[in-house]
Amino acid sequence: MKKQEEYSDVKLIAVFRETGNLEVLGNLYERYMHLVYGVCLKYFEDREDARDGVNGIFEKLIAEVTKHEIENFKSWLYVLTKHYCLMKLRSERSKQHRQEKWENEQEMFMESSDVLHPIDEEEKKTDDALKACIEKLKKEQKQCIVLFYYNDRSYKEISDALGMEEKKVKSYIQNGKRNLKICIEKSS
């Protein structure tokens, strides 16, 4: 007999659709509950609010899960979670600093998508177009990208070696990835 952990997310959604057994959905939710909780903590900055959020998002999940075709549950749940948190924050307009945060995050929210950056996929990492684009990056971006992706160095190690803050390393990687994406799209 298979263990329940072995069932894929998609399978569990199918089982839930057929049986309406909430425990199935609960089991699926539990796989990612710590992530939902983490994201809630990030936005609400309060443990109790975060716990309420996790419970609220499960209710939302029950309502939404049968309405959509879901191929990748994890990223779908991420969007659902983020949407919930941002809506919640927007409804608390009195808290001005949160509002500002929301506006900043909104931009990011729009950018998030299912499609992986090629450099994040092992099998595409050796792609010629990608490598050619890496060579075209600015020094710092290239250093950080290569050390991080091809030499398995942590942010900390890179920051020590190059004498820059970890924050800077992360932003070089971020910007480098964005430039890579543009470059790859241009070349194809």
């Binding site: 089982v15 057994n21 425990e23 983490g38 975060a50 490598k131 991080f148």
Partner: protein, 420 residues
């Protein structure tokens, strides 16, 4: 590679091991790569930075408990009437057995939960009622009928609070017991796989149910203690059980981590047998800022002097438009260095070292004209040069479609690594 796959979905202990700085080097990188890949994980990590591991564990076990209450409550409402019916049968059957055989009755009764799990409870208890019933005298049968009706009354009494309170928890046991039977009854309708999957979700409750049912039946039989308390107790015990099981898992993870450390410590002591892991990255020629130089001086024995830094800079200005790079790509090149570099066996005082090597790549793609920019010692320099000289070809740099000689710099990293 296997290490990386382990983190394809970050676990609880991964997250806090990372945040607490317990992971180093490649393991750390593996987590960070996963976060780059998946913004969900990255944002969750940002949230976890705000709490301690203990706080987060506390919150999550609370959340798991409320999730399981939430998902079971609904089911209980749906299956309620069937649950009451099954409970009646169970209680009646138990008392029946007890009456028939004073000594053996208890044994059989204790066996009930297992029989129930196999889904044959209904048939079995009914079957026994029939066969053993035949042997009863008329008087006994009469008294048994009385017992049954009493049981029915007890059941009715306990049903009421459940209905009015809509508590759900107090009838957790009933709901769980009954669901299996109902699901088995629906067996024919559901696809086989689906049923199998659904049954998997009963595993947890199965472990709890026998006790709960025992408690329930005993309560009804002995003195009619309200079921509510017992079922509640069983529930909270079950929750605790889950928490403890989880803690157990985390402990196991820690244990493994410590075992790993133990291995590496042991390996460090036997240096000759120790394999090294080392890799290199290209460091593009770049003048050292005073800040980075300061940092570097802390980490390394030797610092770049001004002359070297200057020549470094000049070379960077001559950098071609398409710089030289390993013919098979950097990834393959680093893999080669990883497997090729041997940690100098006499260097017992350090377990990692960086060597910066600048060299020319000629138009045929061979490296030459080596210049060690930084190294902790002769042994490391020699080994780094050996590896590069014996290593795979490079693709020469190109300018305007023409191949040219150019300089490049590699950051070769020596690290001891434990035996696999």
């Amino acid at each position: 590679m296997s290490k990386r796959n382990k983190y394809s979905r970050l676990s609880w202990s991964d997250i806090f091991d990372y945040l607490e700085g317990k992971l180093k080097g490649r393991e750390r990188n593996a987590i960070e790569r996963e976060m780059e890949r998946d913004p969900f994980e990255a944002e969750a990590m940002e949230g976890f930075e705000k709490v301690s591991r203990e706080e987060a564990e506390q919150d999550l076990s609370q959340l798991r408990a409320s999730l399981s209450r939430r998902t079971r409550k609904i089911r209980w409402v749906g299956w309620y009437s069937a649950a009451a019916a099954l409970a009646t049968i169970l209680v009646a059957g138990t008392i029946f057995l007890h009456l028939n055989n004073d000594d053996g009755g208890i044994e059989k009764f204790e066996g009930m939960p297992e029989m129930r799990e196999s889904g044959k409870v209904k048939e079995l208890s009914e079957g026994e009622q029939l066969s053993e019933g035949e042997e009863l005298s008329e008087v006994e049968q009469l008294s048994e009928v009385e017992e049954l009706s009493e049981v029915d009354e007890q059941n009715r009494v306990t049903e009421q609070p459940g209905l009015s309170e809509e508590n759900g928890e107090s009838f957790e046991g009933d709901g769980a017991v009954d669901e299996e039977v109902v699901e088995l009854a629906e067996d024919a309708e559901l696809a086989e796989e689906v049923v199998e999957a659904a049954k998997e979700f009963e595993l947890k409750s199965k472990e709890i149910d026998p006790d709960e049912t025992n408690a329930e039946v005993q309560a009804g039989q002995i003195d009619g203690v309200p079921e509510v308390n017992l079922a509640d107790e069983a529930m909270s015990m079950a929750d605790k059980g889950t928490n403890e099981a989880e803690r157990g898992v985390i402990k196991t993870d820690k244990g493994l981590g410590e075992a790993d450390k133990g291995t590496s410590v042991a390996d460090n002591n036997i240096i000759i047998e120790t394999k090294e892991y080392a890799a290199a990255a290209p460091v593009l020629p770049q003048p050292m800022s005073s800040k980075s130089a300061q940092r570097a001086s802390k980490l390394r024995k030797r610092e770049l002097n001004d002359t070297e830094a200057a020549s470094y800079k000049n070379q960077s200005n001559e950098q071609a438009i398409h710089p030289a790079h390993p013919a098979n790509g950097y990834a393959a090149y680093f893999e080669y260095l990883d497997s090729s570099l041997v940690f100098p066996p006499d260097e017992k005082n350090i377990d990692s070292a960086d060597v910066y090597v600048n060299f020319l790549v000629d138009t045929t793609g061979r490296p030459g004209d080596f210049n060690i920019l930084r190294s902790p010692g002769e042994a490391f320099s020699k080994e780094a040069l050996r590896a590069i000289k014996e290593g795979p070809d490079w693709n020469p740099a190109g300018r305007d479609g023409e191949q040219i000689e150019s300089s490049t710099t590699l950051w070769v990293v020596f690290k001891k690594k434990p035996h696999k």
